[in-house]
């Protein structure tokens, strides 16, 4: 059978990995969600009790709202918005300068997250010791506690500076693969830089934008590492997002059953969003059809 279907051999290693590290944990999570397992690790079946518990959880609504704000804001402004901006700008300037700039922008991604967040703490320390406050003080301003007063701004910037780098790399690669004759034609037609970006560059990277949007949505939906380190969801649940809430319940409070039930909710949201993107962006039907680009005179 294998001789007639060699693709099965080729797929087997990946299939085993998917089974072990994707499907099996999902099944274990599903089973746990029907228990009230705590730090004693005793499995007590409680039916759907844990699954309906979020409805009675006073913080659940706020956490869902926070998650939506976090994902939408970080995605649009930073991961895609700044990613596109950086890619376009750094490909419009001499390649050596653009490359160096992109390399610098990649540094946060290569920095351990704890060190990266500590650097933000040095910047934003609410007392005179913070760099931002030092500068503000030198200019005659007062100390400002950004982490407490504007936690979303910090969380979005902190995550986005890392997140934008992925988009930047992918969009840059896409821009560099645009056939040069398209750009030359645009120039011959008298297109300005902005017109070239708008009518040649952006349409050419539409597919990568859709890919990054989809990928980063799902990634942001499950990411909490930087928020945990920077604000731990605070002050007072203002930046508590669903994956962090799951961490707090399951790992801090040892409510493994409830944490698993919340994870089911997160998985459901992720699946629905993935299907929506699939339909809206027409990933299924999008082939290598030639794109038509029009340039205004």
């Amino acid at each position: 059978m294998l001789r007639r279907r060699p693709w099965m051999i080729l797929l087997a290693p990946a299939a085993v990995l998917i089974l072990l590290f994707y499907l099996l944990p999902a099944v274990v999570n599903l089973v746990l969600a029907f228990s009230d397992m705590d730090y004693t690790f005793d499995f007590r079946f409680v039916g759907g009790e844990s699954l309906v518990r979020p409805l009675a959880d006073p913080m659940f609504g706020r956490v869902l709202r926070n998650t939506a704000v976090y994902v939408v804001t970080t995605l649009t402004l930073m991961n895609v918005g700044v990613g596109v901006l950086l890619a376009v700008l750094t490909t419009e300037i001499p390649d050596r300068v653009g490359g160096a700039f992109r390399m610098l922008w990649l540094l946060p991604r290569a920095t351990p997250s704890v060190v990266y967040v500590l650097m933000w703490f040095f910047l934003l320390d609410p007392t005179d010791y913070g760099l931002v406050n030092k500068v503000a003080g030198a200019l005659g301003g007062e100390n400002y506690d950004l982490l407490s007063q504007r936690p979303w701004l910090v969380v979005v910037l902190l995550n986005g500076c890392v997140g934008a780098s992925m988009g930047m790399v992918i969009f840059t690669a896409a821009i560099k693969s645009i056939p040069p004759q398209l750009m030359m034609a645009a120039r011959v037609d008298g297109a300005s830089a902005w017109q070239r970006i708008r009518h040649v560059t952006l349409p050419s990277i539409a597919w990568p934008i859709m890919f990054v949007t989809t990928y980063q949505t799902l990634s942001l939906l499950t990411s909490y590492e930087y928020i945990l380190l920077a604000t731990d969801g605070g002050p007072f649940y203002q930046t508590e997002v669903l994956p962090l809430y799951i961490f707090h319940n399951a790992i801090n409070d040892f409510e493994f059953g409830y944490g698993a039930a919340l994870s089911i909710g997160l998985m459901a949201i992720g699946t629905v969003l993935a299907l929506v993107y699939w339909r809206v962006f027409r990933f299924g039907g999008r082939g290598s059809a030639a794109q038509r680009i029009e340039v205004d005179a």
């Binding site: 006073p58 703490f121 609410p126 407490s148 409070d253």
Partner: protein
């Protein structure tokens, strides 16, 4: 495709890995050597003697065994945790569940509430009953902190006092004389200065410009035992004596929330304390930029010496201390102690020897040495009378504060209650909730997350 050699190498590596992992576990060798694994936590480096005392305890026990003609010997490997309490407890939870936990486990007394109920720890009452002189040499109140359901599960290792520190520089600028400053602690102890009076003092320091706005008072930047002090100070209780269930005292909680609301409203306290790192907090206080460090501990004196080079003389010259004042005038001040203890795990290969290592690790000289090195309190009566300990005026004062001390209940969900309470305080401080709304929030969250484990009372 894979040579026989490659497969053999992989097998050997896997075997070595398994052996190495097993090497971390307690076992008894054929020659009678008992290998024990101990886990202790600081996290502050000054508390490193918690580790070395266990090793020294094992050495002394081996001498004792040799003298008695006993062929058994103990070898103990001790891991010293340098992270905070929560990660340490997490590590223990997962290690015990995986049956890879330590044989001797040391930590704050809450480890009893966490790990005795699932049966991870063994009761020590029989061992203690066989050694009455040893048992009776400890301050009796400490045995209560080491107990769960009337059984003792840990031997006290050190104790501490939580207290407030006040910087004398701004106090002098406010017009306080040296005599006034020296008499401050006594006045708090007599109940002449309440939490409200303290708040008024801090507010005055800010209003008169002695300290900058939001530099009147600092408090801990995260959840912990300290918040319970205010509940007790305002007349609340933490535990229902008959059932052992935790208590949320509404009146005392509301008073606590109003205190912090008032301090923020008067710009005496920064609303965003959680964004202050501990180093910033301590540096601001030690530099005299902040009047009161409210949620201090006896160990901070030594920590500041290490971090900022504060000498004993500078400490005496610049810093005074007092227990957290009572909620109303005439009520006693409060301190919550958090004694450390060492317990024997149910999986220890030789429980009796594990207990005896712990016993010898708290010999009076080791008790005193650790207390002096780490600015903690001794746990044995005979240690407290020793010369070196009595020679340290700060530690002597700390012993004096023990009469105001309370212990947090040993309950597995106490940490959760503390966290909810802290969230309520944070909500008030950042201006998201009024004190009344915060009380409602705390109450609802307690009901949702703790169900029958907490009793809500007026």
């Amino acid at each position: 495709m894979w040579s026989r050699g490659t497969i053999s190498l992989c097998a050997v590596l896997l075997l070595c890995g398994a052996c190495a992992a097993d090497g971390d576990r307690g076992r008894v060798d054929a020659d009678g050597t008992v290998h024990l694994v101990g886990w202790v936590t600081g996290p502050e480096p000054s508390a490193f003697a918690r580790k070395t005392n266990l090793i020294e305890g094992a050495r002394r026990l081996n001498q004792e065994l040799a003298a008695a003609g006993d062929r058994r010997r103990v070898q103990i490997d001790v891991d010293f945790n340098t992270t905070s309490h929560d990660p340490y407890v997490k590590k223990l939870v997962f290690a015990f569940a995986a049956e890879r936990g330590p044989d001797v486990v040391c930590g704050g007394h809450e480890i009893v509430g966490e790990f005795a109920p699932p049966g991870y720890l063994v009761p020590l009452d029989d061992y203690l009953a066989a050694r009455p002189a040893f048992r009776d040499d400890f301050f009796p109140v400490l045995w209560g902190a080491m107990s769960w359901h009337r059984k003792v599960y840990a031997v006290p290792q050190d104790n501490e006092v939580r207290l407030a520190y006040i910087h004398k520089k701004p106090l002098r600028a406010l017009g306080w004389s040296e005599a006034d400053i020296d008499g401050l602690a006594a006045s708090v102890e007599r109940g002449e200065l309440s939490l409200d009076d303290m708040a008024a003092l801090v507010e005055k320091a800010v209003a008169t410009g002695v300290v900058k706005p939001e530099r009147g008072l600092y408090h801990r930047n995260r959840s912990g035992f300290d918040w319970l002090e205010f509940i007790i100070a305002y007349g609340g209780r933490l535990e229902e004596p008959g059932t052992g269930r935790l208590v949320l005292s509404r009146r005392a909680t509301l008073a606590t929330l109003r205190l912090f609301d008032r301090l923020v409203a008067h710009r005496a306290l920064p609303p965003g304390m959680t964004s202050y790192t501990e180093r910033t907090i301590y540096r601001n206080f030690v530099d005299g930029d902040v009047l009161i460090w409210l949620t201090g501990g006896s160990w901070h004196k030594l920590e500041w010496q290490g971090a900022f080079g504060t000498t004993d003389a500078e400490f005496r010259q610049n810093i005074a201390y007092f227990p957290v004042p009572g909620g109303k005038r005439g009520t006693p001040p409060v301190s919550v102690s958090h004694p450390f203890g060492c317990a024997v795990a149910a999986t220890a290969p030789d429980r009796e020897l594990a207990f005896r290592v712990i016993q010898r690790s708290i010999d009076p000289d080791l008790d005193v040495g650790h207390a002096i090195k780490s600015s903690h309190l001794v746990v044995r009566k005979s240690s407290s009378e020793s010369g070196p300990y009595q020679a340290d005026p700060f530690l002597r004062d700390m012993i004096g504060l023990l009469k105001f001390t309370h212990f947090a209940p040993n309950h597995a969900k106490l940490t959760r209650l503390q966290r909810i309470l802290f969230d309520g305080i944070r909500g008030v401080e950042v201006g998201v909730l009024s004190p009344e709304e915060a009380l409602d929030f705390v109450e609802r969250l307690c009901k949702a997350r703790m169900a029958d484990d907490v009793v809500i009372e007026d």
